[in-house]
Assembly symmetry: C2
Homo-oligomer: 299 residues x 2
């Protein structure tokens, strides 16, 4: 049995191409001396990632009949934030990674200063994209998108989770603290994907709540599998160094729960995520498939 | 003759206190492990700066009768961006500064990773503040504020200017390139101060254009004086290391124009800035005084 349904695989690949194209179009170009910065920004976003977060925006927006160009802009903004976070995470002072998806990380390809600035500029442009009237006619929606992305990626979201992740290298975290860390570090931005799709479509509070519940379970399942891939995978499969958490003596879902229970837990969360979609009476096929995909993926 | 009029000095100090108070109130607190991040964010903003940019927001907003709490929130957002940029600029990979306004820089006081993340979080929260309905009733205004700040601080503004500044260390820039660099690096964010004040007050296009022209002249005058202070001042006066540009062999307004012409040029720009305010028929007293202040300041 293939780990990803052929239709999901095609849909994800289509979405990834469209989002990449959108980012290519939106990101600035220059003939002036600062073009190195613009190149580093492009290098950071054109990295052949799965584009999971944009896919969540697009799939959710589709449920509410949102114009595709609008959804693509919001998806591109979210992906800019995800990519900035990878650039900064890879820096020598942070995870000190030289390899990301089989390619040199930004500070290796360029230099550290350029990588810091490219990350800063990607974070900044995300909000410029969202505030632009091309993203949605209704300024209330645009403000809600800005707010959603800022909260998910800020001190109480992704950046706070990054801080916790650094602290976890020297402090022993229990399962509750690890869950909170991962919810902040990756879960909030994943949840932001479905929430932005719902906001674009002016979804009802009930729909938004279901999407949020779905995305939080999905995010946690995603992270548990990430830990498993780090513990079990090979560098060739995952495109990044593996076994780092264990070497660093860092607590993860896998070190605390063990491999089997961690995998069981991820499956359970995936099934629970799908149940939260029942409000859409089977119309949220892509989102259901993604929940299966994140626990079956090999990279 | 005192270099700053007593009334401007009092007004600037009042504004600085109010903005600092507002940032204190808005910035997140935590009892969890990530509190180190929140402390570093506060450390980065509570640095006793002149709060020039917030003062421009407040003084401009006042011209249009904007509610003070709204103006203070916008001013706080702008200052968060300014302070994030200082934290990142001071990093070892960038300017490698250990001292800022007589105090240890963020990466010295904490560590490099925390400083990077605190900067990221300050940039992010700025947009969260602006998108919040407490900043303005009208979502169109909030979107315009987000847009204005993102453009001024992004790849075509401050971050692009930072990149140029790094390139200027190894490439000889002429006066045109230096002017463009400085307009991007500091000018855009200063102009953003008056523009945000105008946007909050739904200023007419003519008023906005005059404010922009004022701020661009002001920003350039400000930077020329900065270069002069770096070349002439002492560390005790300016609270940061001096003479660095000359040592680095970097072209500045002072190395290209010489001290006297640089000072003349700054004065000319200051007078020109004040002329752009004639549209306000003398009501823009604070803004006029600021234009005099930036060329007379000693730090």
């Amino acid at each position: 049995m293939p780990s990803v349904s052929p239709s999901l695989s095609a849909a994800m690949s289509d979405a990834a191409n469209s989002v990449t194209e959108t980012m290519q179009r939106i990101l600035p170009k220059s003939d002036f001396a600062e073009q190195k910065l613009f190149e580093a920004m492009r290098y950071g976003v054109l990295n052949g990632g799965k584009r999971l977060r944009p896919f969540l925006v697009l799939s959710t927006a589709e449920l509410f009949g949102v114009d595709e160009d609008c959804a693509l802009r919001a998806a591109a903004a979210l992906e800019c934030v995800h990519c900035y976070s990878l650039i900064h995470d890879d820096l020598p002072a942070m995870d000190d990674s030289e390899l990301r998806r089989g390619k040199a990380t930004a500070h290796i390809e360029y230099d550290e200063a350029t990588a810091i600035l490219a990350g800063d500029a990607l974070l900044t442009i995300a909000f410029e994209i969202l505030a632009d009237s091309k993203t949605h006619d209704d300024p209330n929606v645009r403000c809600a998108l800005v707010s959603c992305l800022a909260k998910a990626s800020g001190a109480n979201g992704m950046v706070g989770g990054q801080m916790l992740d650094l602290i976890a290298e020297t402090t022993q975290f229990d399962i509750g603290a690890i869950t909170r860390l991962q919810r902040m570090k990756t879960g909030e931005l994943i949840a932001c994907g479905t929430e932005m799709g719902g906001l674009l479509g002016k979804a009802s509070p009930q729909h938004l709540a279901s999407l949020r519940a779905y995305a939080h379970d999905l995010g946690l399942a995603f992270q548990i599998i990430d830990d498993l891939l780090d513990a079990e995978g090979t560098s060739a499969e995952t495109g990044k160094p593996v076994g780092r958490d264990e070497k660093a003596g860092k607590a993860t879902f896998v070190t605390i729960l063990g491999h089997d229970r961690a995998r069981q837990q991820a499956k359970l969360l995936s099934e629970q995520a799908i149940q939260h979609l029942s409000i859409f009476s089977g119309r949220a096929k892509n989102l259901e498939d993604v929940a299966r995909f994140v626990v079956d993926r090999k990279a």
